[in-house]
Symmetry: C2
Subunit: 217 residues, 2 copies
């Protein structure tokens, strides 16, 4: 295959192939060369023109996987049928329930022992999830009286770090049982802050995702 | 100076010089060459024989700074005049009050934007602080009835991550005000878990340490 004249198509092709290989062989067992071998003649140079490393390809694969469902998560903010606390609960539920999560938990490699991945997840929790998704909802909750806090920014960051990092089985490689226990304590913490927003169904979904990740790593 | 026949003395000399330079110029503005220049003739090879990088020297400097006071923190476990909850409070208070903390907060570089440092702090919180310091005290608290939890390992990990990572101004480069707000929410979380273990004095100490770190970075 000759080098594609349309860079977006080339990028999508690389991500399609990388995604399939990460799903089949796992991220750790897929090399850049494997990806090239499945690109029908695209050169190594063409890949490196778009991506600096296999890690960069993974970020792009994950980004593309969640981009569409992230848009839908942001729309929760605009709903008029829910108060702030209900929106926060809906954010969690929909975030866990999106079908793409099975794939995310399948392709995601070991994060805890990779400083660059770990740092990247942490930055995302602090710089995106907290201010873009959780904080606007907390502010609405304060305005409508369903959430009480003096410090919405810090509360949003705390919730984001616990939900996206601490109880996330992708990060800590937790077993199903460890995920269960963390989730129970997460629920206690939230309730102590007046936030009764997680339920048994979410707990089970999180444990199922943990099992999917464990079976693929 | 000829290469030291006693490796321990060489290591201590390197750490003495590095510590002084980190304090004076800051970690970021100190190069390996600066350290060599102050070692009176010790060769670059001699340094690299003991340390792989400037980062490794920093870990060793920090390790040596806290080693002695860490031993004293561990002794809290053996006290017979306190119940578990009181021991946890004493652990926090003594941990913050040790005089070495001023130096730790002075030499510590930017952690949030350095994936290796960030990962190293996180691993220490999960693999050392939680199981070695906090967990034994929680178990005692469960036994004497002063702490209630079904999942001591996960509770210890949560407390360690919040105390050592989230409210730690070294990690997030928080201002005094941000540190104050995080600490207030940290206190709410602990109280929600039945742990009334931080007080106004600790809050002020944490804010002071945050100011020391900010003034040196």
């Amino acid at each position: 295959m000759a080098r594609n004249k349309y860079p977006e198509e080339t990028v999508n092709l690389i991500l399609d192939v990388a995604f399939r290989l990460f799903m089949e062989k796992g991220y750790e067992h897929t090399s850049i060369q494997d990806i090239i071998d499945h690109l029908g003649g695209l050169s190594k140079g063409a890949i490196y023109h778009h991506f600096k490393s296999k890690e960069d390809i993974l970020y792009a694969v994950m980004g593309r996987m969640t981009a569409e469902s992230n848009l839908r998560l942001k729309e929760i903010c605009d709903r008029t049928d829910l108060n702030g606390k209900e929106k926060l609960k809906t954010l969690f539920r929909l975030s866990l329930d999106r079908p793409v999560m099975e794939d995310v938990f399948t392709v995601s490699p070991n994060v805890y022992n990779n400083p660059r991945f770990l740092s990247s997840f942490l930055h995302e929790a602090v710089e995106e999830s907290a201010p873009d998704y959780i904080l606007p909802i907390i502010r609405q909750g304060i305005a409508d009286g369903s959430i009480t806090t003096e410090y919405p920014e810090q509360l949003a960051q705390l919730i984001s770090l616990l939900a996206n990092i601490w109880i996330n089985p992708i990060i800590f490689e937790d077993s199903r049982e460890e995920t269960y226990r963390k989730f129970v304590i997460f629920d206690q913490v939230l309730k102590g802050l007046g936030l009764n927003i997680v339920d048994q169904e979410m707990l089970e979904r999180m444990c199922d995702l943990s099992s999917i990740h464990q079976n693929n790593n």
